[in-house]
């Protein structure tokens, strides 16, 4: 399974013409964990969602290549895309309060995902849902399956979301800021869970976040995005030796217990970064 993106451009119509949110992003991804880091508005979510063509209607997408395992995503029709979505690639979103359907129970939504791609009877789907909830380390899966999203805590909701997206057994998981809406203590647990499941199932992972140290800890490779462009691409271990001033700025801004600094640095944005 390989994802290939070459020169992706995404623009939106605005009162003053079109504004480009993504300006020529390229990367490839195999069975590895790729992290995409950037601040709000850097285009990281859009980039990842374009692989599954889950962009809003007004988005104008163009690229030389968007390929998922050899399938041309740009030219594929909706039916072909639906065969990819869910079954071959899943998407976890930021806040389970909004990304889970409020009027269906957790179990129903997971069972739906399972059933859509694996068929079988309703009972089989329900049992599979409970089993999946157990796999995401929920302690009382039978009870939780009957709960509605508003009755779940943030962490449990995200686990349910993960279970839901893993139900069809996909090859790629896109996690769009999966922990940004969670408490700090729960963040690490959820990420560890994702890492564990992804490794065990031999999946690829795209982890999107604004948290650089988090991403570098859990991923093999890291892409840093700024204003719609990729400004840095490095292996996670080599980030400390990053070259681009934006990345350096991000790294310098981080407080450290090991190397205490008398003064925390402030990010200085060079307009030149927008021009590359």
């Amino acid at each position: 399974m390989q994802v290939v993106l070459r020169n992706l451009r995404i623009a939106f119509p605005s009162p003053r013409g079109t504004s480009e949110a993504v300006r020529g992003v390229s990367f490839t991804l195999g069975q590895e964990k790729l992290g995409i880091v950037g601040e709000s508005g850097s285009g990281k979510s859009l980039t990842a969602r374009s692989i599954l063509r889950l962009l809003p209607r007004q988005a104008q997408v163009s690229a030389e290549t968007i390929e998922f395992d050899g399938i041309d995503v740009l030219k594929a029709d909706e039916t072909a895309m639906r065969a990819i979505r869910g079954k071959r690639a899943g998407l976890i979103m930021q806040d389970p309060k909004y990304s889970l359907n409020p009027v269906m129970t957790a179990g129903q939504q997971i069972a739906e995902a399972w059933h859509a791609h694996r068929g079988g009877s309703r009972r089989e789907a329900r049992e599979a849902a409970v089993e999946l909830l157990a796999q995401v380390q929920i302690r009382d899966p039978k009870r939780v399956a009957d709960l509605y999203p508003h009755e779940l805590s943030g962490g449990m909701g995200q686990r349910a979301m993960i279970a839901m997206m893993l139900a069809p057994d996909p090859e790629l998981l896109i996690a769009d800021e999966p922990t940004s809406a969670l408490d700090a203590t729960v963040q690490a647990e959820i990420l560890r869970l994702i890492e564990d499941l992804v490794s065990r199932r031999g999946m690829g992972l795209i982890l999107i976040s604004h948290d650089l140290p988090l991403v570098s800890h859990f991923c093999d490779r890291v892409l840093v995005m700024y204003a719609g462009r990729v400004v840095e691409e490095a292996r996670a271990g080599e980030l400390a030796r990053a070259k681009h001033p934006y990345t350096r700025g991000l790294l310098d801004c981080m407080p450290s217990l090991v190397h205490p600094k008398p003064r925390l640095a402030v990010m200085r944005r060079d307009p030149a970064w927008l021009a590359t």
Binding site: L54, R82, G86, G90, L91, M93, Y148, M161, M165, P168
Partner: protein, 346 residues
């Protein structure tokens, strides 16, 4: 009622149901008060309506005392309340019947009309709204929006008149006014007061088709009226639902568009939609007044306007009170439905 079972589950919810009921009670009380005050605000002396202009003063005085009109207002209100509790809305000056009898006689026809109208409006309006939202910006969407906009702006009595003109006069495919042709008058036993139903119950199929044909025009006119609101609200709710993050998640799951549209998006709007429908049904009571006048439909609206023209205050107030109470009841039902069906509120 759910209040009792709720009490076992949660004292807070029981209290909430109680306060809901008490606020309805207060509203009903206010309704009664307002109707009473309207009645007493009349410049026309109801005594004269009964005894005529030329009655000698002592007769007038006696009738006034009988009617309790010489008592202070509070006492009059108390008497009014007492009568109400016993289901006595006074006597109609026009028909000389008890107002309650008259209302019971006329109400079913309105019920028949309004219910048929709302069913048609729901069956057509909801799918229209859903599909229009799914195809936002398309030509279909524009057509739907224009239709519902027109429906909200057209005066319902003009529409009724035009329908009569077009379908009855020019094209001759619809029958004229009234609930039934003169031919069938009195042939169907009056069980529910709803001719179509009564004819069916009596297996008098000629009368049935005739009644149905007569029902069609006013029901369709009223239905168009409701449909505009229902379609518009359905579309608005659907657009909001379709913008939700969980819709993106559903798409990411690879579900079919139909499933996403109906099970996910529509599933989320059903509850507020029910509220809208209940309110639309209540709004039909208003529309019925005008429609019944155009089509000479013997319902509560016609009774109300007839009483108005004759300054028959008991009848007017009685009918107003009944309609108001139905309105309150429907609002209450809508609220209850919301509470029972929305998992977030349960």
């Amino acid at each position: 009622m759910s209040a009792i079972t709720d009490a076992g589950r949660s004292p807070a919810r029981f209290r909430a149901s109680l306060t809901g009921l008490s606020s309805v009670a207060i509203t009903l009380f206010g309704l009664i008060l307002v109707t009473f005050l309207i009645g007493r605000a009349m410049p026309i002396d109801p005594t004269l309506a009964i005894v005529g202009d030329h009655a000698p003063p002592d007769v007038v005085a006696k009738v006034r005392a009988d009617l309790g009109l010489d008592q202070p207002l509070i006492v009059q209100f108390w008497i009014y309340l007492e009568h109400l509790v016993h289901g006595d809305l006074g006597r109609s000056v026009m028909t000389q019947n008890l107002v309650t009898t008259d209302i019971a006689h006329f109400f079913p026809a309105t019920l028949e009309l309004a219910t048929t109208a709302i069913i048609i409006a729901i069956l057509i309006g909801v799918p229209l709204g859903v599909v229009a939202a799914a195809r936002q910006g398309s030509r279909f969407d524009h057509v739907v929006r224009v239709i519902s906009l027109a429906g909200q702006s057209v005066p319902i009595f003009v529409l009724g008149l035009l329908c009569l003109l077009l379908f009855y006069v020019k094209l001759g495919i619809a029958p004229g006014t009234g609930q039934q042709d003169v031919l069938y008058e009195g042939m169907v036993p009056d069980v529910t007061g709803m001719r179509v139903l009564d004819a069916a119950l009596d297996a008098d199929w000629d009368a049935f088709w005739d009644a149905l044909a007569h029902l069609a025009q006013p029901a369709l006119v009223l239905a168009y009226f409701s449909l505009s609101i229902i379609t518009r609200m359905t579309r608005a709710f659907m657009l909001e639902a379709l913008a939700g993050e969980y819709i993106v998640a559903a798409r990411a799951k690879g579900l079919s568009p139909a499933r996403i549209l109906w099970r996910h998006a529509f599933g989320n709007i059903m509850v507020p939609l029910i509220t809208v429908i209940a309110l639309a049904y209540a709004g039909l009571l208003e529309g019925a007044v005008l429609t019944e006048t155009v089509f000479s439909w013997p319902g509560l609206g016609l009774y109300l306007t007839g009483s108005l023209l004759n300054a028959d205050m008991n009848a007017v107030l009685g009918a107003t009170l009944v309609v108001g109470a139905v309105y309150v009841g429907l609002n209450l039902l809508a609220d209850l439905a919301y509470r029972l069906l929305d998992p977030r509120v349960r």
